[in-house]
């Protein structure tokens, strides 16, 4: 079969303009498909990172917007398998000018030693760690955020409260580097409590829990929720990854939107490819007659034509994957609302899927015209005037 390969390639390169247009059009569409699949893959197929796999998030069952009593931590701490419990309070507030997108970054009130413990992947120099733990008004920001806002150690960062009726001013004492959540500001929960004074409320938004092994995560989640099942305030505990995906569902039915656009794109490529193949076969009916006269069998002719279509589509697909990985670079630079998009790239399974889709489309789109051409009688084919 392989000895026909030069023939197939020669044939596909006969009408250069058409082949080029087809390849470009397939590659542009497949590039889009590739990026969409990469996004889908990043959201729904990426496993939690090793450090993430050990963490759980506890929140009030009613919703994330409703806090729970802070004394719950002692009971959570006693659940077997729990290594650490860290309170996390979303502070919200306004930094400088709200209208600028770069000023919108998450701010959490935490206990410094606990957060450093629970987020082991964060890299902080030892002296900065100490300063952050010891100084009440200290804060720590991610490296990406510090670069974006041009912040340096020792800078003062004022935040105006909205949920909490206090305005706070932090001193930047530590800058951490981490593969994810690199644009967050953490500050001391004690500072918030003291600023609130008499208004301190004994409530907390979420607890982050560190488990002793990834296997015990589901059991711990169940145990924590069972513990508070009969309390006035019930909890909902889930793995950190599930918690993050919960935010995603916020954008509406992302899964459905992505899948339906993918389907539309695939179908469009199918039409483009089918149209081209049909056009090129129509022009060549007489040649098919000649091939048949020379003794080529039906199945060989069918394979030759299908091979040509698959070759064109696969080349388009390969080009599409290259374009898609370039496009992923653009998406990474964009304003990402999800950490997954900050690391978007074409993973090998996605690239493979793109090539398979391309080849399959080539095969399907060529099948009917190729089948008809292979069945046409020699006399009729030779008489053809196209």
């Amino acid at each position: 079969m392989l000895r026909f390969l030069p023939f197939v390639l020669k044939n596909s390169w006969r009408n250069r303009r058409r082949t080029t247009l087809t390849i470009v059009s397939i590659s542009v569409s497949l590039c889009l498909l590739g990026v969409l699949m990469a996004i889908y893959y990043a959201f729904y197929f990426t496993d939690a990172t090793p450090s993430q796999a050990l963490r759980l998030v506890v929140r009030n069952k009613i919703s994330l917007a409703v806090p729970m009593p802070v004394f719950y931590r002692d009971k959570i701490r006693q659940v077997p398998g729990v290594r650490e419990v860290a309170p996390y309070q979303w502070f919200g507030g306004v930094y400088k000018d709200r209208r600028e997108a770069k000023n919108m970054f998450p701010r959490f009130a935490v206990e410094p030693d606990k957060i450093l413990n629970i987020r082991g992947e964060m890299q902080v120099p030892e002296d900065q760690k100490k300063a952050f733990i010891q100084e009440r008004t200290a804060c720590m920001v991610g490296k990406a955020l510090a670069d974006k806002l041009n912040l340096h150690l020792g800078d003062r960062i004022p935040i105006q409260g909205d949920i909490f009726p206090v305005n706070l001013e932090f001193t930047l004492r530590a800058i951490y580097d981490a593969p994810e959540n690199n644009e967050v500001l953490y500050f001391n929960l004690e500072y918030l409590d003291q600023a609130l004074g008499a208004k301190r409320w004994g409530q907390i938004g979420t607890f982050y829990v560190l488990a002793d092994s990834p296997e015990s995560v589901p059991r711990i989640a169940q145990a924590i929720d069972d513990e508070f099942h009969n309390s006035p305030v019930q909890t909902k505990t889930e793995s950190e990854r599930a918690f993050q995906l919960g935010f995603l569902s916020f954008l509406g039915n992302v899964k459905m939107i992505l899948l339906s656009i993918c389907a539309a794109v695939t179908f469009t490529i199918l039409l483009v490819s089918a149209n081209t193949i049909a056009m090129s076969i129509r022009e060549r009916v007489r040649e098919v007659g000649v091939l048949k006269t020379l003794g080529f069998t039906r199945s060989t002719i069918l394979t030759l034509i299908l091979g040509e279509a698959v070759a064109i589509a696969t080349i388009g697909g390969a080009l599409g994957v290259v374009l898609a990985s370039l496009l992923c670079g653009v998406v990474r630079q964009g304003p990402a609302f999800s950490d997954d998009l900050k690391h978007l790239s074409i993973q090998p399974p996605v690239a493979l899927a793109c090539l398979i889709v391309a080849a399959t489309i080539g095969l399907i789109s060529a099948f009917i015209p190729a089948w008809n051409a292979s069945r046409i009688s020699i006399v009729e084919a030779l008489r053809s005037t196209e």
């Binding site: 087809t22 059009s25 917007a65 916020f250 049909a278």
Partner: protein, 388 residues
Amino acid sequence: MAIPVTYNLRNLVVRRTTTIMTALGIGLTVAVLLAILALVGGLRSSLQASGNPLQVLVLRKGSNAELSSAVTPANFQDMKFKSGIAQSRSGQPMASLEMVTVINLASVDAPQGININLRGISSIGIEMRDNLKLVAGRWFQTGRREVVVGESIQKRFPGARIGQRLHFGRGDWDVVGVMSAGTGAANSEIFGDLNQVSSDFQRPDALSSALLRATDPVAAKALINDIANDQRLNLDAMSEVDYYQSQTNSGVVIEYLGIFVSIIMGVGSSFAAMNTMYAAVARRSQEIGTLRVLGFSRGSILFSFFIESILLAALGGLVGCLLVLPLNGVTTGIGNFVTFSEIDFNFRVTPQIMALGVAFAMVLGALGGLFPASSASRKEILTALRGI
């Protein structure tokens, strides 16, 4: 002299398989664009329908959402009697103190749960929402653990029908009625008695917002300035229309995504149209020669093929409109980063959107048709007639 358009139309009919496939390809591109525009359009119209230009929403200084705001009953008493506030039929000031929080309800299509706005409200607040109507059951009674749910909540959550009980806060709440706000945001909210809700969430002194009705637009502006400048209150006021306008942001992300996707798909399908038109030019070489012999100029050949490509694409645009039309009126929900909850609305496939889709298709056709048309017009008569 121009070549009659009928010539092009008949051509498209004769080569119908190619025509249909190319048009369908363009149609799908247009359909994706239109679906996204219809989604964003629906969201916008829902949020626009939610605001009344005469009404002023009061939040704590620095907050941009009811959820992150706090207004005390004492503040409210101070504000209630400011000048410029309209009076209700019973002679009360049209001012409503409200509490908003978010509850998470699970449904069949979202077992993980969806965030829903819960609003504690009093009867004056209901009266102030002009387009709010009760469509089934009755309003909640003051002092009882009863709630009225928005129309789309009732549709999406089987557990939120009349006679059922919802569990949140410190216990169960009876669903006693269903309300409709036209296309407004209250369709995806749950209303309950202010005192009951705020005591359940232990927030009797930290409510969320106050809604005031001004007597006229000038008074509304004055009221906004008056409250914002009142140092004692530490509150901020804005027109209700502006408040909902600021929430359309969540649609912007999706709109950008949609435009981005359709432009890339558009590039692909305009190349496909180019392919089709090149094939058409190649096959009709002899016809082109004949037309030239008959005296049609190069210009009219160029124009004729260009028009044919645009016609082909416009057909695709119409196909795209037909594909999207069934979406019109379908309800969907989208998360709102300002209110932290989901708002439900209908896809709106308006004539404007459809016109935009056909125009987009025609641009694709024009881009795809330009080169083939110019190559057709540049053919030499003799070569063209020979059919090479």
